[in-house]
């Protein structure tokens, strides 16, 4: 912005200069000179009067401030010596000698070392041999302009639509992001109502938002829908801030709108995916239930009628008939165990197992398991001992699952032990970390070779016992038990020494899973 015309100062006429003015009375003349002097001294701009040799012959207080020197100090100095700037003052002076005013800007350093942005205007020959140099300090204005340019660049480069509008909803600014989002150019929309970006069905929302805004609430990430020029509706997230004026308070608002189409699509996709998964899981559950039902029905006839024959309900049996029927019975019961365990594993893997957590007395549970295993142990001539603490140990867990695991471990112990005993123990941990209980099943059986220990929990692992005696089993029991233990927030660990025996430990958290 060029420097405005400065009031022509009244300077003392140079000696010998011809006075062309209308003669005035002495008094009026003095009055006029005082008047002009006051204007000269009161001017905001720094004014210096130079002679033909660029020597300063007069300065106003603004000039003293700009140069940071006193008036007596400045008078009689050549302007070139006083003015330290990034333009050559000689060049500037020469330009002015053609008689035209010269205007422009430069940076100068005043005596106090401060760098200032300055606009100058050199008006040569305001009087004979007198030239006026007017300087205006625009440092602050330049800084504000630079800040504004920076902010404008940020706003302009944002992907978000940033729009400001006045209190009555008239659009005042519109960035490139807004053009991209709404489809209007800034020139088309500035001065028009912001409501043209709001779909009819959302009009009521403007008043609502405004009311929240006036209550001083921060409107942030408000999810709604806005209207493009082509009529399409875009999901957006709005953040609204007040535009304040020192004098009159809120004078408008700026709205940042972010296009959340992609996020919404993503959310919908995730939702649909979840629904699909739910449906798939439900279908799997139904399939498992159906399979369970369909496999059991024919097995009922096999196990049932084999049983009635062996009970001799229809009539007597020969020894060979009995032997063969027993083979069918064992096979059928094995098949039933397989079906049960495969379904259990499938249910755990599809996440269809609902744990029923309840206060469970470990002692009671272990006594129940021992009671059910005892006949098997005694039939083999084994001792079944238990070592349970006197203090009741109660944990919150799924009783049925724990019973299933311990029954499996104790059953295996009896199965793989030919001589000696099976011991069921219980202890609680007092070390670091959350309290846990350990249920230990120790046997004096065949033991497991070290290389087999890692395979133990895999499905359908049928290890050859170290004593070479083949045993019945589905190959799923330990696999299932470990899965159940994990489900309960615990684990099963094993230690074994061939020919000395094995120790299986079920560790469970005392608190909820």
């Amino acid at each position: 912005m060029p420097l405005q015309q400065t009031a022509v100062p009244a300077v003392r006429a140079a000696p010998g200069a011809e006075d062309t003015r209308t003669p005035l009375t002495e008094n009026a003349l003095r009055e006029s000179e005082r008047h002009l002097r006051a204007i000269f001294d009161g001017a905001h701009d720094a004014l210096s009067v130079l002679d033909d040799r660029r020597v300063i012959v007069d300065v106003n207080p603004s000039a003293c401030r700009l140069f940071a020197r006193s008036k007596p100090d400045l008078l009689g100095q050549r302007c070139d010596d006083v003015l330290a700037c990034d333009r050559d003052f000689g060049d500037l002076w020469s330009e002015g000698q053609s008689g035209e005013s010269v205007e422009g800007g430069f940076r100068m350093v005043s005596t106090d070392g401060v760098v200032r942005d300055v606009e100058y205007s050199l008006r040569p020959h305001i009087l004979h041999g007198r030239h006026l140099l007017a300087l205006r300090d625009v440092t602050e204005r330049k800084q504000i302009e630079a800040t504004q340019r920076r902010l404008a660049a940020i706003v302009e480069s944002s992907d978000d639509a940033i729009v400001s509008h006045s209190l009555d909803g008239t659009v005042e600014s519109w960035n490139a992001g807004a053009t991209h989002l709404y489809g209007y150019e800034a020139s088309e929309v500035i001065g028009r109502p912001i409501a043209l970006t709001v779909p009819v069905e959302r009009m009521a929302e403007i008043d609502l938002l405004w009311a929240r805004f006036e209550r001083g609430e921060h409107v942030q990430h408000y999810e709604t829908v806005r209207l493009r020029r082509d009529g399409t509706r875009i999901p957006v997230s709005l953040t609204v801030s007040a535009i304040q004026d020192e004098a009159s308070g809120i004078i408008g608002a700026s709205t940042i709108a972010r296009d959340i189409t992609e996020r919404k699509q993503f959310e919908r996709a995730v939702q649909e995916k979840n629904l699909d998964l739910e449906r798939a899981n439900l279908a799997k559950d139904r399939f498992l239930a159906g399979m369970s039902h369909e496999l059991r029905t024919p097995l009922n006839a096999v196990i049932g009628f084999t049983g009635t024959l062996l009970m001799r309900l229809p009539g007597p049996l020969t020894n060979e008939q009995e032997r063969q029927l027993k083979t069918i019975q064992v096979g059928a019961r094995h098949l039933l165990s397989l079906i049960n365990e495969i379904l259990d594993v499938a249910k755990i893997e599809s996440g269809a197992v609902d744990l029923k957590l309840e206060e469970t007395s470990c002692q009671e549970l272990l006594q129940e398991v021992s009671a059910s295993i005892r006949p098997l142990a005694e039939a083999k001539g084994l001792r079944l001992d238990s070592s349970l603490p006197d203090r009741p140990v109660v944990i919150r867990t799924d009783r049925r699952a724990v019973r299933q695991i311990v029954t499996n471990l104790a059953g295996n112990a009896v199965k793989f032990t030919e001589r000696g005993s099976v011991l069921v123990g219980l202890e609680t941990t007092n070390g670091d970390g959350p309290p846990r209980v350990r249920i230990r099943v120790t046997d004096t059986g065949a033991g497991i070779a070290e290389e087999d220990l890692t395979k133990l929990f895999r499905p359908f692992t049928r290890l050859h016992a170290a004593d070479g005696i083949p045993r019945e089993g589905t190959g799923l029991g330990l696999h299932l038990s470990q899965k159940l233990a994990h489900l309960l927030g615990g684990k099963i660990e094993v230690k074994s020494e061939p020919e000395r025996g094995s120790e299986f430990t079920l560790e469970l958290p005392q608190e909820d899973v």
Binding site: S292, R296, T297, I303, G304, T308, D354
Partner: protein
């Protein structure tokens, strides 16, 4: 203890198995192959016990027990679900529907009759609704 037992089962083999077993132990069996037929049989014969499959053509075993529990004078008939629905939760579902007992298939003939006789001796479970006014609402919990 000779009891009269209605058996509702649509699978001929399984019906045959249960009937044979029960008769072998001296009980009288009355056979039905659908829920509707079974309920008619109960209404006519007022048996000592009902054994009922859950997966039936027409009304299923859950519906059978609801209707039985609404039959004035017969609502206290002990009833056992004998079913191949043997996944976790199936027992609870059957008991909630109004059955007094639940025996999963396959049945074990060595213990089956003993189990069944236990229910005849015990009669209706103690938590049952009052004799004269059982309602659907009380059953449908």
């Amino acid at each position: 203890m000779n009891a009269r037992i209605v058996v509702i089962e649509d699978n001929e083999t399984n019906l045959d198995l249960m009937s044979f077993l029960l008769r072998a132990f001296g009980h009288e069996t009355l056979e039905a192959r659908s829920g509707e037929e079974g309920l008619a049989l109960i209404a006519r014969e007022a048996p000592d016990l009902l054994l009922c499959d859950l997966d039936l053509p027409g009304i299923d075993g859950y519906e059978v027990i609801q209707r039985l529990r609404a039959l004035r004078g017969l609502d206290r008939t002990p009833a056992i679900a004998v079913t191949a629905y043997a996944m976790a939760g199936d027992r609870e579902r059957a008991l909630r529907a109004g059955y007094d007992g639940y025996i999963p298939k396959p049945i074990f003939p060595e213990t089956f009759v003993q189990q069944v006789e236990g229910f005849i001796a015990a009669g209706r479970r103690p938590s049952s609704a009052p004799t004269n006014r059982p309602t659907m609402a009380q059953r449908g919990d």
